[in-house]
Symmetry: C2
Subunit: 140 residues, 2 copies
Amino acid sequence: MERIVRKYRGKGFKLTPQRIAILKFLEGNTSHPTAEDIYTEIKKRYPTVSFATVYNTVQVLRDKGELLEITIDPARKHFDPNPAPHHHIMCTGCGRIGDVFVDYSAALNLPDEVTSQFTTTGNHIDFYGVCNACRTKNIN
Amino acid sequence: MERIVRKYRGKGFKLTPQRIAILKFLEGNTSHPTAEDIYTEIKKRYPTVSFATVYNTVQVLRDKGELLEITIDPARKHFDPNPAPHHHIMCTGCGRIGDVFVDYSAALNLPDEVTSQFTTTGNHIDFYGVCNACRTKNIN
DNA sequence: TTACTAACTTAGAATAATTCTATTATAGAA
DNA sequence: TTCTATAATAGAATTATTCTAAGTTAGTAA
């Protein structure tokens, strides 16, 4: 019995071969892949896999709290298999996305004009920057 | 001469009637409209206006630093005519977006494993919550 | 004031991301 | 082993956004 199967069985969704392949690809993956990235990878082993399967699976995983959907890139969604709340930084040059594992919640006090209108439940920070590779490129 | 024209002329883009209508609609607008919201509004006065004009205009305004593009809603882009850096809070019930005019930058120190990889240039916080209207609805 | 042209508007086609549908297949419960 | 709810698939549909080609115009400069 595979480790992935052990980890995810009994969570309320079926573990099909395609899903196991998606879970394996995502396991420990810090590249923040898009749906197309996942599709391209799974297609190598399951050439008939469809986008519907990829989208269905990431939706199930999101709903079960096993995956985060990231909105930092205005062009498309990225996914993060680490469901622990954390933040992200995107390189404005190449689009690479990195993780920021710091909880800033204690510092993020909201003004009265906001707390009087909303009950806050969470926060996510998008940091923007330039990665080393892109900075080097621009210097030369 | 209208105030909008006075404010935006000489900024490097032509002020057409459609653009003036868009700028008027956006002026002081805190509803964070989508492209469709803008299109629907401008269509009232200019029935032949096209989506291309709306998208072209918001792109020009974004490039000129007169408008922010907001990614807090995974479903579609929203626009904010206040270009001063600030943050947003979205109601997870109805999708309403509010502004948060606090600069938290001083508190957002990044760990070494991030600063060694990225030179940070900015940040934007997505707060999530429930607005009063939605909270009341759920109680009843 | 007029003439000019780069920039703009428009309708509609194209693209890209995502979702839906109908059908067939299967994981996992009984 | 059987059964059925759930999932996979191909492909159509939908939605957001961008592109294209043709006609129009804002704003510059004579």
